[in-house]
């Protein structure tokens, strides 16, 4: 019976112009988004590659000059340990040049640029200033963020549900309004079977088309040739789950027997609530409950502290040297400068620590609040999952940040003693300094992150659809 109705529904959809318009629209939007996302990603990739290349050129150049200087020194029979400013100055390498750290984009990043601009994927690690100061990501409205990029994630989260709704707002109401329902219901068929066939045919068409278009986009934008099929598989599953949710919702709304126009309005309001209003509202509430000190205030405080610290630097240095008798004062101005800087930065960090801590803590609370309340909107849940799958979400970013912090510590550990020891940074030292290499999140870890939201979405869909199907038994065929 289901098969017969399915065939019939597919025939009706084929002859209905709406279905073709919806499919064409979906194809155009998705392909444009894929190309657009690819371009955005290329820009980012190029910028990152440029940063890395520029750094490598500078380092190579510095090393070359250092080698040349050392050759001269050997000729003059000078010890290579002799401190010297310029490329042989550890401060120059450890603080002025620093070390760029980059979170390499995954192939799927072109599908979801996401919050890459909110969470910068490249920093310069320096022994002098703490990276933590760069951690100024204020919680922003995901709506605004999403609108910023016309990528596949945007089309999937915003427009795909709208297209689903155009094919489902009149699931049963269409046949009721046109009068065919009476004739069908005269046959030994339950309305649940009928509406189930309608959902299956429409979801097969639309979700199927979306998945196929994504595969095309994956290949056309070249992501397929860069690997990442496992993450792409997850992406497809998330798209399927999210689409199913909207079908489940439409099934439920349809069950109450209202007219197609009323259903359309109710579904449009749901869309607005889940996709636009709730995400904004949750962020506003998070910001009000856990206000983060403004970035402006933070920067101002940092500047003030820097000025004070600079004015008192000689005083501080004297105090510092008094506290650290193991460090002998040096006469060399350059070395003194390096020491002054370290002392200054340490003092600034000390003064700013409470503000910094408050900032980070409040931000974490906001994140937690948003993550918890995010379950009010399936769009927010899906948003998080899609970004995690694409590797542009908070999960991967946090792991990156942790690795950067660890690297920062090892970088400081490597250079600061050299500053105080006032020894030269020899050309050979260039080869032994720490290097940053991002260690990728394991797939199992990613799966761990995705299991709960995915189950949640599945459960919600099952509940909505289940109630919808049951409720159809009471559907008023004739009034």
């Amino acid at each position: 019976m289901l098969g017969k109705i399915l065939n019939h529904e597919i025939r009706l959809l084929r002859r209905d112009r709406t279905a073709w318009i919806v499919l064409t629209l979906l194809a155009v939007l998705m392909m444009y988004a894929a190309v657009n996302g690819r371009q955005e990603q290329l820009l980012r990739q190029d910028a990152a590659a440029e940063t890395m290349a520029a750094y490598q050129t500078r380092i190579a150049e510095a090393q070359r000059v250092a080698e040349a200087l050392e050759a001269e020194m050997r000729e003059d029979s000078l010890s290579l340990d002799t401190y010297d400013w310029g490329p042989r100055d550890p401060y120059n390498v450890g603080s002025s040049l620093g070390h760029p750290v980059i979170l390499p984009p995954l192939p799927l990043a072109r599908f979801a640029i996401g919050q890459s601009d909110l969470y910068p994927s490249s920093y310069r690690v320096s022994a002098a200033s703490s990276v933590a100061l760069g951690q100024s990501d204020q919680l922003e409205n995901p709506f605004k963020l999403l609108v910023g990029h016309f990528d596949l994630a945007f089309v999937t989260l915003f427009l795909y549900p709208l297209l689903i709704l155009t094919l489902t707002f009149a699931l049963t109401a269409e046949e009721k309004d046109s009068g065919t329902l009476r004739l069908v219901m005269t046959q030994p068929v339950s309305l649940s079977t009928l509406v189930w066939a309608k959902v299956l045919s429409r979801s097969g068409l639309l979700v199927g088309a979306a998945l196929m278009l994504m595969v095309v986009a994956f290949v056309v934008t070249g992501a397929a040739f860069e690997g990442g099929w496992d993450r792409f598989g997850l992406w497809l599953i998330i798209t399927l789950l999210y689409g199913s949710f909207w079908f489940g919702l439409a099934l439920l709304i349809s069950a109450f027997g209202r007219s197609a126009a009323t259903n359309a309005i109710i579904l449009a309001v749901c869309w607005l609530a889940f996709v636009v209003i709730l995400p904004s509202l949750i962020n506003v509430v998070a910001g009000t409950l856990y206000p983060v000190p403004s970035r402006m205030a933070f920067v101002t405080a940092m500047r003030a502290e820097t000025t004070v610290a600079e004015q008192q630097s000689s005083e501080s240095l004297a105090k510092f040297l008094h506290d650290h008798p193991e460090i002998a004062p040096v006469s060399d101005d350059e070395a003194n400068f390096a020491m002054l800087r370290v002392v200054r930065d340490e003092r600034i960090a000390e003064q700013l620590a409470p503000v910094m801590e408050q900032f980070v803590r409040q931000q974490e609370r906001q994140h937690e609040f948003v993550r918890a309340l995010g379950y009010l909107s399936p769009t927010l849940v899906t948003h998080g999952m899609l970004l995690d799958a694409a590797g542009t979400g908070q999960t991967r970013y946090k792991i990156f940040r942790d690795q950067v912090d660890a690297f920062q510590a090892s970088w400081q550990e490597h250079f600061v003693p050299k500053y105080f020891a006032s020894v030269a940074f020899q050309s050979a030292d260039y080869d032994t300094m720490p290097r940053f290499e991002y260690r990728e999140v394991k797939l199992a870890e990613l799966l761990d992150r995705l299991v709960f939201p995915a189950l949640f979405l599945t459960l919600i869909t099952a509940i909505l659809g289940g109630i919808g199907l049951r409720q159809h038994r009471k559907y008023p065929v004739a009034e």
Partner: protein
Amino acid sequence: MLEAVQLTKTYDDITAVDHLSLKIEPGEIFCLLGPNGAGKTTTINLFLGFAEPDSGIATVNGLDVRQHPLETKRHLAYIPEQVMLYKNLTGLENLEYLTALAGHDDYSLADLMGFLAQTDLPEEAATRRVSTYSKGMRQKVGIAIALAKRARALLLDEPTSGLDPSASFEFSQLLRKLSEQGVAVLMATHDLFRAIDVGTRVGLMRRGKLVEMLTTDELEHPDLERLYLKLMRGENVAA
């Protein structure tokens, strides 16, 4: 074949069907007469299970419609006043789909065309989309759907409205043939002439109640008309 026992249905404050009892045997053609709002369509809806009775039961072939919603529909065919079809499909495709749902997916193309021919639908129209059909043509497809179902009971709600006199006459012939085959027919109609012509019994309904039941052998059209008008004015008449 069709039986209503103390069947009652109210919508808000209005009692659409009021303790209706009625029994239609195989081969009978029972014509339900009455003004608009008398409860004729509601009675048919109760047999179809489209409405739930407040009290009483409606049975088809001895089965309670409420308890066996799908099984009772196997025995029922229905032609509404306005047969509404899928307008993007042809008449033939509509017939094919609805008979397949009824369980007859073994009909050949010739069989299906045969059913349409019985209703006098022009052959060329069968393969045209229904959106180009007149009301009468849709009605004919509706009749073909009912015929093809080979049901044991037929529920008709003003089935000939919109048919031209000759098609209407053909339809009466068809009903007689079905009745000879043992099909029980319940027809709601305004057409007193047709009721006497084709019906074996007529029932007059007013405000949900069956106020009069007559066999057509003893009736002439003018008698029925007089009785009808009197009853509907609320006078008590001994037949």
